[in-house]
Amino acid sequence: MGQLPLGARVSTAVAARPALGRDLRALLAELMKLEHITGGLVVAPDGLVIAADLPREVEAEPLSALAATLGRELELRGPQLRRGTFPMAQFASVSGTAFLGSTPVGFIVLLGEPQADNDAVRTALRAAVGTVYRAWAR
C-alpha cells in the first residue's frame, strides 16, 4: 500500500490558449453565470480535469472520472458515432440535474439545481460546445 505517485494525481488546471473557445476555464466561468447552476467542470476523455468550479463538498477527481466514463458511454451508444458526435445530454434526479456536452477536447459538465431552466442551460451549453468545436478545429 502507499500514496499515489505525484504524477498520478490529477492536475486541476491545464493551460489553454486564451483564444475564443480555447480558454476552457473562461468558458466554464461564463457557463457558471447561468441561474441555478451550482458547479461545473471540463474533463478530458481520459478523465483528467481541465477546469473545475465545484461546490466545496463535491470532489473533483471521482466526479471527473465518472463524467468522462459517462461521456464516452454516450459517444459509443451508436456504433457509427466516434469522436465528439453527440451534442449533449441531461440527467436529472429530484434534487438536481447534471448536463453534459461533448467536445473534441473533452466533456463539459454543469450541475444545476432543480429550479434551473433546462432549456436555457441546454441552449447555453450547446453554444459553448459549438464555440469549442470551432476553436479547436484543425
Binding site: 478523465g47 471521482p62 438536481g96 447534471a98
Partner: protein, 292 residues
Amino acid sequence: MVFARIWHRLGGRRRRPPTSAQMFRQAQRLRDEGRFEDAAELVADALIREPGSVVGHLLAGSLHMTLRESGQARTSFERVLALEATQPRALLGLARLALEDGEAKTCRDLLSRALARYPDFPEARALLDVARDLAPSADPKRAATPVLVPPAIPVATAARMPAVTTAPTPAATQAPAAKSATLADRLRLPTESREALFMRPDATLVFAEPRGPRTEAVAARAVKLARIATAVLARSGFGPLRHAVIEGAAETTYLRTDDAALLTLAFDRDVTAATAVSHLERVWGSCRSELA
C-alpha cells in the same frame, strides 16, 4: 563579426537534439494546448529513443484516449504495466477501457489491483462502485450473445407482461409477437416514437418496440448508462437518476427510471421536448401499472 560568431555558437547549441525527457515535456505542453496529434507524434518519436519510459507510454495512452483511439490506448497502458505492474493511471485507464467494452469483471479486477496498492485513489474507487453494481445481464457484450437460461422473472410479472429475452419463457414462445402487440396497444405507444424499451434494473427486457437482434444489447447499454449517470449524480450531491434526455445525431432519447424499472423512448429530433416528455410520462405510468 564577433557577435555573429557568438550567435552562431548559441544557435548551434540550440540545435542539439532534445533529450527524450525534454520531448515528453514538450508533448505535455502540446497536449495542454490541445495539439493532441502533434503531441502523440512527439511522444512516439521519444519512445523510439527511450522505449522503456513509463512516463512516455502513460502519456501516449492518455493521448490515445483523448483522440478516442481505444485500441492504441490499451496497448500503451499494457506497456506501462509491463514496466511497472501497479502503475495506478495505467490500471485506471485499462479499467475504463474494459468498462467501455462491457467487461465489468475485468474492470473490477484492474481497479481492485490499483486500490490494493493505492487505497487512497478516489477515481478508482468511484469507478469500482459503478462496475460492482453492473449485473452480468447489464453487460452489453453478454446481452448481444444468446443466453441459454432465461433470467428469473417474478411469476406475477411474467403472467401479465411477457419478458422479451433471447431464451423466452414457454408462454412467450407461443406467441411473443401477439402478446407484445397487445401490450403495445395497452401502453398506447406514441406513433412518433422510433423505439421504445422497457426493462428491469438488471437489463431484463419487459417490452421492446421494435425488437431486433441488437435490442438486448441496446437495453443493456441503457441500464449501464443509467448506472453511470446515477453515480455521477451521487458524486454531485444529488439523488438517484429519474429522468434523462440524450440528444443523438438523428434522434433524441428520453429516459425515465426508478429503482424497479427503466423506460426509454426515442423520437426524431423534430419532436418537441414538451411533446416527448408528455408521451414519456404517460407511457411510464402505463408501464409501471402493468408491472405493479
